[in-house]
Amino acid sequence: MKRGAIAILPLAFGAAIYGFAFGILAAQAGFPWWGVAMMSGAVHAGSSQIVAVEQFSGGSAILGAALAGAALNLRYIGIVASLARVLQSLPLHLRLLAIHITGDENWALTMAERAKNPAIGAAFLLGSGFVMISVWTASTALGAVLGASLPDLEAFGLGFAFTAAFIAMARGLWRGQENILPWLVSFAVTGLLVMTGLPKAYAIVGGTLCGLTLATVVRQRRSAGE
């Protein structure tokens, strides 16, 4: 657990930047700092929270705002599903806790490290998840308290740190030639969908599903050829 908690720290620092920004947005929508903290701890989904609060402050109906935000999180069906083997040894209450504290960063890091070392599993996911949800909750609350007095850290290129981290995690999951086509399709379809104006979260789901379909076809052909 400690190993996961330490390994996730650089990514947690990056998440804190977005946390500050979300805290400012939520404070402007009338949330007190403790309300922001409560939302971050209970929801734990950055993009969903941002969209829901944006819609809410824009005057949308509550249910519509919440569902618009939640829909952005549909990729978590795939993310959590992929954890099935990692979580199978845990009792139910820990499994439910683990899926709540799972975010893009600690999930991806767990899977990438597990690809290198199969001994990495639920403890790593839990340790890194506890750090991520704590940093997310604290940074969003701090953003709500300090407001716009913080400098725009995005301007220093720190936002790119996430992209670089995900590139490294993809490298960790690379299994060879069989990945080339499905990964290219996932990348290209997602990129094209974003370029057509579709929200990124939906584009990610669309790209992943296309890649998944192709990966299945590639596997079936390979096993038929053997």
Binding site: A45, A70, A81, R95, H100, G157, K200, T216
Partner: protein, 98 residues
């Protein structure tokens, strides 16, 4: 904080957890089926899609920094080293007014 603020938090939290729970149930069902290999394919495909979503529509500078990060990732297979190289190249190119 008004009732509306509370309600937004409540509905959003319930919806977010329901989505995660759906994944847990689906994952367990898939694990025991002939579709089990899908679970091995999912992580890489989702991560590649996340990278594509953050690069789409970005200026050449971002793509160059991504290429440098990819080279670093390939060479080191290390997350922190890749982040350092990526951010350094991004910042360096930004400073030269690229």
């Amino acid at each position: 904080m008004t009732d509306y603020h509370w309600l937004l938090i409540g509905i959003l939290a319930a919806a977010a957890f329901t989505i995660r729970l759906t994944g847990l149930i689906a994952g367990n069902a898939i694990r025991r089926s002939r579709l089990a290999p899908l679970l091995d394919d999912l992580p890489g495909l989702i991560i590649v899609a996340l990278v594509a979503a953050s690069l789409a529509g970005q200026p050449v500078l971002t793509w160059l920094a991504a290429a440098a990060a990819l080279a670093a990732a390939w060479k080191t297979n290390n997350v922190v080293a890749t982040m350092l190289v990526g951010v350094a190249v991004f910042a360096g190119l930004s400073m030269t007014g690229f």
